[in-house]
Symmetry: D2
Subunit: 340 residues, 4 copies
């Protein structure tokens, strides 16, 4: 029996985690905390779970959670979870952090992008980036896993095969990414009101989104390349789903088959990466409520330009599902358990 | 009184044209044809017009239309309208063609992209491309106007200011364009069924869409530059609206102000181009049911990459509204009449 | 030139009013107030109006508005507008109030349903209920017009023909009404967040909605009948549109033709009521952005049950459009001016 | 190991069945037939199943299926599946029919509503109506189960508690039901095109929908009452979900608690019926992708009118999920297996 607690479980990622975990027979949900909703019935905030989860959100009690849990998921917003996480680590728990607190490699970079001083810079180096397709071995050994950002997940799985093989110009990468509205979380602001987001499409945070440095740093870690990536996210009128479209310039022309072989190799053995048949393109609906990342490839041969498209569910492979995949790995469970 | 007839008026563009024209006191709607719905009540196919338009679709009668009309709009699909259009031109009418038949400069290019032999190649050279912001003088003199494609309109208004001033590398242009579903027209196919298109996002026709050569040819006509453009369209779950995001590499670094000046100059005096205030980005909802094109600018200065974003309503500035703007011009009416 | 001012013009109804009024050549927009956004550019809050309206929201200045206006529209929330409205009336202006403050016939009923003491009970009797189809003569003479609620408009136009002719049991009326989300206004609350309202359907305020007494009171005024109506509103995942479905029991069986004749009579001469052809049913999309109310009729003859369906755009015939229709009437302008 | 085959598995219900069954370890999917797509890769028609289901649709081979299966689900349209179903029954298989072929009690009624002569009237009486909450014992013994219609399921679970206890006037029942678009199936018709169904709401088949007699007949079977029900379905712009709102007149006034007790009793022990806490109302989003039916109650005490609201996922409790629940019952498996 795996004893699990979740911090900040009242948001969308938290709800998705609870939903996925209640499906599994070998999981014992111990403590579910919420800063804003301590004491409230979980079914009141996640009404789809009524009848399946009969308990209340608790206030954070580090001692109790340390005693009762093997693994802790933190869905707290930036900076909030760092202190308790450090305590859980010291108590010997495994921690999977869904926030951005341990994704960037230095406290300086963190401060630049998140506008806050990192509360435990000494622990940054202990964190493993939880993208199993590239850090599986490290994740298996890790105590602290930085669960990747949703955009970063979709983008990295699409672009890393090209960069690993040094097939593209490092500074040519443009990422035009599109997300459903749940990517913005549950915060109540006018921009995400139904009538403002419905029947509307917009880009935001053009070339200044926080997943841009995350993507660049992971590229560096995996490939030793200092790629600079132009990242442009969009808000799409749908609840869930990310489509990431990557444009890059090939160093040398490649034929379809050779290009495809690169992605085939990257997908081989990966339980959650689906390279689509030639001529097919990812659609977000095909990955909804799944942990899959669908990938398609195209070219504009005239300019040696390659176009890679990837689709994920931002709350599953982009958050809770990948977190579970990471838990499975670091607890030495079958990687796909509870995710198929 | 301007006597107007519309060919193929049962589709979305046709319906929008009727709606816009019934708002104008100096317009007399003469004949509205439909191949599929001849004899049917117009309100049956455009039920929002019930009570305002009391008449029936007619079968095409070139003689009658020639006699009764000053201007003809053709909303026929590719190749279908060419023959009658030639007859209307010979009869001295003004023709505004919303199809692609007269957008490309040669019959050969037309055949390559539309897979059909052009029925009247001799008339291609007589056509003026109906993008008023760049061909206003020619449109005023024209008898035959090729109304631009919806994606082409949004994209050209965003990219031409940069190319005209030779500010970007010609082969660096990438267009990531997104459209609401009405862009696909009224054809009944499984791909556009509600449950297939809703809560879904996908790219299609990656780097092989027919608006790609249209964009490239107009760039050539306006700037004498042989730019090759990678064009990737997407289907977004909303009825209307196009957001076109253009990525290009500046030849030399430019500061914000100088870059903005280029677009300010392009927008000056243009009644339907709105350069947004600094820091604001186009949203499709802000141009819905209007003839406006909203434009915003951003940069990723690290790679001298400029990002231009433009939004239009695909059925208005992208079709019927621009057609009316063109009619106003070639009939020497105030350009904005019936469009504000 | 009609000099118009609008109070509380930053919301959805206010935006719609501005949009409709800027289309009209004989209107002069004088003062647009906003409590929350005084001093801000109107285009910042209503970005679709950029380029057409170049001015700022003002704080309320009763003296200035009294001096500069012939007619004032108030879009303030309940109770807020009463005091200035009284001052405008005393200054001789026409006032059209889009709030509920003057819709109910007594201060007591107002207090019961709106939980606030009416600030000017003496003025309630002076107000005319602004449903032109039933109070046209009174509206023409009125200085103070209580613009009807959106649900009430759709429901009353559907049910009054039956009640006027004493065709149905008064206590048999059930109204199952459905509205797009803009009916809730611009207030930022979690219930109306995109991910909460999208892909969801719910009833709310079951049999306790404030439009229930409004409907009952207007029925009484028009027909002298004390009908008690069960009113159940729903929130539908779309921006705009109301479909109201009314169920009632006929006193005596009626054949189709006779039943239809009743509604035909009611629609005759009405510029904005469209009785649909037999067999057709209202769809909200057909009235979007129009001031029309579409009406359809059906029966379950087994139980002598009649079913009347009506559709309006909640922001046009349900708010701003009807307000303009009322202004046209009380200023003796053509009733449809600026609305077709 | 339960050996399962599915007829007509290319539609939405079929896809949902496959999805639910591939989640279960003790299920062996044997043959999946499709009339229209025999030979095609299942992942091509249900792309979300790519990687999980590696097989092709087959043409119907009754002999093979009889030999290889313990239970057959039929998702064929009306009348098509009757003949093979009879053969499977003769071969000793359990059959769960998701069509309407065995829902109505007589061939005559079937002909009246489905406009086709029943191909095997002698088998109608052998079928058990698959609403476990009311026919659990019979389902356990059944070989042929008529899986209920989606609207009928939501409506019956809401209205039967009142009728069983003789609390309401039998002819007072009005059902105002609303469904997402997937309820119409995968058929490609203009009415269900994205731009026609999106941002739109309409009623259809008012008081003449085929689920009306189904509801009335099941009421009779369960309660011996000849209730006549006015049933009005609506099409709502969302993919999935049904909200059924039932209006009825109480014979005698009841207080809240007593009324609630009736529904509490009906829900007690039912694994998939959730009576919501007092004051809460069903929302379709809370039952999406689940087999739950959520129920809420309200009253308009003035006219002794009770209002019961129920929500289900039309493809789960309204189709595939309930079919599985029925399979579990008739194969003596735990009723909730694979459904929580």
């Amino acid at each position: 029996m795996i004893r699990v607690s979740i911090l900040g479980a009242s948001g969308y990622s938290g709800g998705e985690l609870i939903r996925l975990l209640t499906n599994r027979p070998n999981i014992k949900l111990q403590h579910l905390t919420s800063e804003s909703s301590g004491g409230e019935d979980i079914a009141a905030l996640h009404p789809s779970l009524r009848g399946r989860v009969r308990r209340r959100f608790e206030n954070l009690d580090v001692k109790k959670i340390s005693r009762d849990s093997d693994v802790v998921f933190s869905c707290y917003p930036a900076a909030v979870g760092v202190k308790p996480i450090v305590q859980f680590l010291k108590a010997g728990l495994k921690v999977i952090d869904l926030s951005a607190d341990f994704r960037l490699p230095t406290a300086h970079l963190y401060k630049t992008w998140y506008k806050v001083t990192h509360p435990a810079p000494g622990f940054i180096a202990k964190a493993v980036y939880g993208l199993p397709e590239y850090f599986r071995a490290e994740i298996r050994q890790a105590s602290l896993i930085a669960n990747p950002g949703c955009y970063a997940t979709a983008t990295l799985l699409a672009v890393l095969p090209l960069l690993k093989h040094r097939l593209i110009e490092t500074d040519s990468v443009i990422v035009d990414a599109k997300s459903g509205v749940s990517g913005a979380g549950k915060k109540v602001t006018s921009q995400y009101m139904y009538c403002e987001a419905n029947e509307n499409l917009q880009a935001y945070a053009v070339a200044v989104h926080r997943h841009q440095p995350e993507i660049e740093q992971v590229i560096k870690k995996v490939t030793r390349l200092s790629a600079r990536v132009t990242f442009v996210p969009h808000l799409v009128p749908m609840n869930r789903g990310i489509l990431s479209v990557i444009y890059a310039t090939l160093k040398k022309s490649m034929n379809k088959r050779d290009l495809r072989a690169v992605f085939l190799e990257a997908a081989t053995g990966e339980p959650f990466v689906r390279l689509l048949p030639e001529g097919e393109l990812p659609q977000t609906k095909n990955v909804l409520n799944t942990n899959y990342c669908d990938i398609g490839i195209a070219q504009d041969v005239r300019m040696k330009r390659v176009i890679v498209l990837s689709a994920i569910d931002n709350l599953v492979k982009g958050a809770a599902g990948q977190a579970l995949q990471n838990m499975n790995l670091c607890l030495r469970r079958p990687e796909t358990e509870g995710l198929l």
